[in-house]
């Protein structure tokens, strides 16, 4: 899905320009401009294509403005032509109706192409892993149906494997966003939206809610850790072995408004996510994604069934606690 060779070269030039504008350059903090997976890469390419196409208009127009304003200023010694009644030129007007039409046509082509592409698994060779995401007031619940584990405000995924996020909410509408891996999608009660993301390499990324949900909204940030498949399997094993189970009551507690630390659960009530969705969908689950039925796993498959996982043998006792993010800035002082 990359834009071929020519945009790449121009991208470098544009990046250099951006760097000088932004002074700080494109350091790691520019998460949108540091794609770490195929989806974010596609979007990064589109951003660069659109910057280039827009620059084709912006730069000459600003230059022309400066020139005209200077050239035709009303000063006593200005000898520039003055034609007060020259107000029409079909040739010129055809030109500037056409320029934006051509630019929009080019941009429209790339836009439509990638709009369709991003609805699909970005990595056709690998079977995607499913993670269910629920936005609550004000924390994120992640349930892993294939592994039957759950986490709160923390996401761990294997790198090189596309992840299909199935996203819903039991709270006001939020938006699930991991900028380094790709753009966001809304989390809405009674509906399931679908988003494919993939991390190409191990690493840690910021994730956050991007649609305002009230008082604790700013604290709905979470870390995403991409590991190798082995490490991921190992982590799942530890979670299963060392953390408590999530009961229905635990979920009821969790969904009450308030902040939460990072939590992990060795299991979650069967069909929890589907139940959350159907609670608000009046018996007709609204699917806003594409081919949901193919990938839904509602059959109570509670065994460890990560694709390609080997029975992890290594056991690292201290590993579990390291997955928690004690440095996550939380101020649990909400007055509820």
């Amino acid at each position: 899905m990359s834009g071929g060779k020519w945009p790449r070269r121009l991208q470098l030039a544009v990046l250099a320009a951006l760097a000088s504008i932004m002074l700080a350059g494109c350091g790691n903090e520019y998460v949108v401009l540091n794609p770490k997976g195929p989806v974010a890469q596609t979007q990064y390419d589109l951003i660069m294509i659109s910057i280039i196409l827009c620059s084709i208009i912006i730069i000459p127009v600003i230059g022309l403005t400066a020139f005209i304003v200077y050239r035709y200023r009303d000063t006593p010694n200005n000898k520039a032509t003055y034609k007060p009644n020259w107000a029409h030129s079909t040739k010129l007007e055809v030109i500037w109706w056409s320029i934006p039409i051509v630019i929009i046509a080019i941009l429209g082509y790339f836009t439509v192409r990638d709009t369709y592409a991003l609805k699909e698994n970005p990595n056709k060779e690998v079977k995607p892993m499913v993670i269910q995401v629920t936005s609550l007031d004000w924390k994120w619940l992640f349930t892993y149906p294939e592994q039957n584990i759950a986490t709160v405000n923390y996401l761990e995924i294997p790198s090189g494997v596309p992840v299909q996020f199935q996203i819903s909410a039991e709270a006001p509408m939020n938006s699930f966003w991991v900028p380094e891996l790709g753009g966001q999608i809304y989390a809405m009660a009674g509906m399931t939206t679908e988003l494919y993301l993939q991390a190409d390499h191990p690493g840690e990324f910021q994730g956050r809610g991007a649609n305002f949900t009230g008082e604790g909204f700013a604290h709905m940030q979470f870390n995403v850790k991409a590991t190798t498949q082995d490490e991921f399997d190992q982590w799942v094993k530890e979670v299963k072995g060392t953390t408590p189970e999530m009961s229905k009551e635990d979920y009821e507690q969790l969904k009450k408004p308030g902040l939460s630390d990072v939590l992990t659960y060795s299991s979650f009530p069967e069909g929890l996510f589907e139940e959350i969705v159907s609670k608000y969908s009046h018996g007709h689950p609204m699917e806003t994604g594409g081919n949901m039925h193919d990938s839904m796993h509602m059959d109570g498959d509670k065994e460890e069934s990560t694709p390609g996982s080997e029975a992890g043998e290594k056991k690292d006792e201290s590993a579990h606690s390291t997955h928690h993010m004690p440095n996550m800035s939380m101020t649990p002082v909400m007055n509820h």
Binding site: V31, N85, A87
Partner: protein, 656 residues
């Protein structure tokens, strides 16, 4: 008794925040001061006769302008408070609730209670004069519109000292804005403040459409109508198509909250996404409603100060009307991220991009109006020139946002924030300021001081770029809008601090403008000719300030820039002096009913806000009574005798 009063006050008033107590005290002091001054100088009767009951479009325009400048101040203070809170990570200047209320009121006020009335103020001040008309088509309705806006705005603003401000964002998305998540009267204040003023907006839209279609001076064919009036026509077309959607949508939201309906609730069969669709079906045309008149202003200003005919008039008319139509087909781009099918997303991405075409064409036409002109850099022109690069960049980032898959990365980030502030400040605010500077002498009879204006201009402009360019970068850093705080670990702090500095520069620019106005009242250059800028259209042919009947003789129009034609013909001696024949002028009578009716609406609105049904009923009965009374009023107009017209004109230096 005392205890129950205390109890009442504790939930009726907003308590516990020193900033709000300060605001309460200053509001009380201001009101005492106003009452004192009016009483001491025996001005109550004057206020009632000359202003509260007026149906004169120019006075209504002035009142709109004053109200919108006050609202600009309040919305600006909101903005500065937000910027202070975000200047450094983990600041505790504002708590989450307070911050949420402030960004909500900032957005609502700036769009609905600042931009809209400033725009209506300009419509009122200019359109009848530009058309050669003596008033708008429905002067009484015009007063109704203004007072509905005014009392709607007052109801909305009351919420920050009484009951609590709304805090679910400027468009109050459900389910967050529903009772479950936003109990209390705050959201109701939002609904009723907008509802009441929205009725006024719709009426203004109808009023100006009819004015433009029916009240043009003889000879002014539609294709000879000045560009500003065309832009008003485009804007009003959008108003009458879009505002009913707003009215119905927030009425349904109120039914959800008040009567337990389930239109947009999370449970019970409601669909919050329906609200998003409906509100943006109004909301997207709304941004064009406010920006298209700014395009009209730039067209007038550019032609006047380049001393050259507007380039590509026909293209410009096609562009503003094209925008009016296209604006109704782009709403879903506000939520590309809701996960609809690729077909829907692709459709709205393309329609959004299409808007860039007519908009881009206008930029070229303005540039080529200046090309081979003679540009003088007076204040209205300065704002127009500053607008072009600002809007080109803002428009380009808008095109970037319309690239749907990329929008998944920009959505709700500071990139979006920077974009819409760039088009709304660079387009709407710069445009309206240009318009205010341009037409100020026509309304008030004096120019605004150039030197203080230059300070205001440069502070606004430099401040704008310092404030908003870093926000594009913050968007690329993943900073999400509506965060009341952020941590040190994200690297967001340097650019946020820069942005805050920029916001204060703009604030300083506003202070200079207020100073400029107060200074110019005494010292501003008087306009004795009625044509201070060497203008081109009809409004400059009459004295400044314009007499209450506008035109002693209704002009015969032959050209788009008719006054320019007359001046040229006079200069080269081809002008044929027509014999002037003064006739009695038919004018509408003042009426207190619009004011009284709006007070009744305010009472009803207050009752609806607190869900005090008895009070709402009293208010609505009052509204009905006023309408009933008006239907039996037959003595609503009068004729200004020829003698009085002659005397008035003579006092303004024109002899007939």
């Amino acid at each position: 008794m005392w205890e129950s009063l205390k109890e009442f006050c504790s939930w009726f008033f907003v308590t516990g925040d020193p900033l709000i107590y300060g605001a309460m005290v200053s509001i009380a002091l201001t009101m005492v001061a106003i009452v004192f001054v009016l009483t001491k100088y025996k001005k109550w009767g004057w206020l009632w006769r000359e202003w509260l009951t007026t149906v004169d479009h120019k006075r209504i325009g002035i009142m709109y302008l004053i109200a919108s400048l006050l609202m600009l101040f309040r919305g600006g203070v909101d903005a500065l408070m937000m910027r202070v809170q975000l200047a450094f990570p983990n600041l505790e200047f504002l708590h989450s609730d307070h911050y949420n209320a402030i960004f909500t009121t900032h957005g609502t006020i700036m769009i609905l209670f600042m931009a809209m009335p400033m725009m209506f103020g300009l419509f009122n001040m200019v359109v009848p004069l530009q058309l050669g008309a003596r008033d708008v088509a429905y002067p009484f309705l015009n007063a109704v519109s203004f007072w509905l806006f005014m009392f709607g705005a007052m109801l909305f603003n009351l919420s920050f000292v009484i009951g609590g401000s709304p805090d679910a964002g400027w468009l109050s998305y459900p389910p967050l804005s529903q009772n479950d998540f936003s109990p209390g009267p705050g959201q109701n204040f939002w609904i009723w403040g907008i509802q009441i003023s929205g009725i006024g907006s719709l009426a203004t839209g109808i009023n100006f459409i009819v004015t433009i279609l029916k009240m043009r001076a003889p000879g002014m064919k539609l294709m000879k109508m000045p560009m500003f009036s065309w832009s008003v026509f485009s804007s009003c077309t959008m108003i009458i198509l879009a505002f009913p959607i707003l009215t119905v949508t927030i009425a349904l939201l109120y039914l959800d909250r008040f009567a337990g309906a389930h239109f947009f609730t999370m449970d019970g069969g409601g669909n919050p996404m329906m609200y998003l669709n409906l509100i943006w079906m109004w909301g997207h045309p709304e941004v064009y409603i406010v920006v298209v008149p700014a395009f009209g202003i730039f067209s007038e200003v550019v032609a006047t100060f380049a001393k050259k005919k507007l380039f590509g008039y026909t293209s410009m008319v096609a562009a503003v009307m094209g925008i009016a139509i296209l604006s109704f087909f782009t709403w879903a781009h506000h939520f590309f991220t809701m996960g609809t099918s690729a077909n829907v997303i692709a459709f709205f991405a393309i329609t959004t991009m299409l808007i860039a075409i007519p908009t881009g064409v206008k930029i070229f036409n303005w540039l080529f109006t200046m090309y081979r002109g003679k540009i003088s850099f007076k204040q209205p022109m300065m704002w127009t020139i500053a607008f072009i690069p600002c809007f080109v960049v803002g428009g380009a980032t808008g095109v970037m946002l319309s690239v749907a898959p990329a929008d998944y990365q920009y959505h709700n980030s500071y990139f979006l924030i920077a974009h819409f502030h760039q088009v709304l400040i660079g387009g709407v605010v710069f445009g309206y300021l240009a318009g205010i500077y341009y037409w100020w002498p026509k309304l008030f009879g004096f120019k605004l001081d150039e030197k203080l204006g230059a300070w205001g201009f440069w502070l606004w402009n430099i401040g704008f770029y310092v404030c908003f360019m870093p926000q594009y970068a913050l968007g690329f850093m993943g900073m999400t809008r509506r965060y009341y705080t952020y941590g040190w670990d994200l690297g967001w702090e340097p650019l946020n601090l820069v942005s805050t500095v920029g916001a204060f520069l703009m604030g300083a620019g506003f202070v200079f403008q207020v100073w400029q106005i107060t200074y110019s009242i005494k010292h501003g250059e008087r306009d004795t000719t009625g044509d201070p800028w060497n203008g081109r259209t009809l409004e400059w042919s009459i004295p400044s300030p314009a007499p209450f009947y506008n035109f002693a003789v209704v002009p015969q129009v032959k050209d788009m820039d008719d006054f320019w034609r007359v001046k040229e013909e006079k200069a080269n001696g081809t002008y044929k002096e027509e014999p002037v024949h003064l006739e009695p002028i038919h004018m509408p009578k003042n009426s207190g009913l619009p004011f009284i009716m709006s007070v009744c609406w305010f009472i009803a609105g207050f009752g609806f806000v607190w869900e005090w049904t008895w009070m709402a009923i009293i208010g609505m009965v009052g509204v009905a009574l006023v309408m009933w009374a008006r239907s039996f009023q037959y003595d609503t107009d009068y004729y200004v005798p020829v003698d009085e017209v002659r005397r008035t004109e003579a006092s303004l230096g024109r002899v007939y």
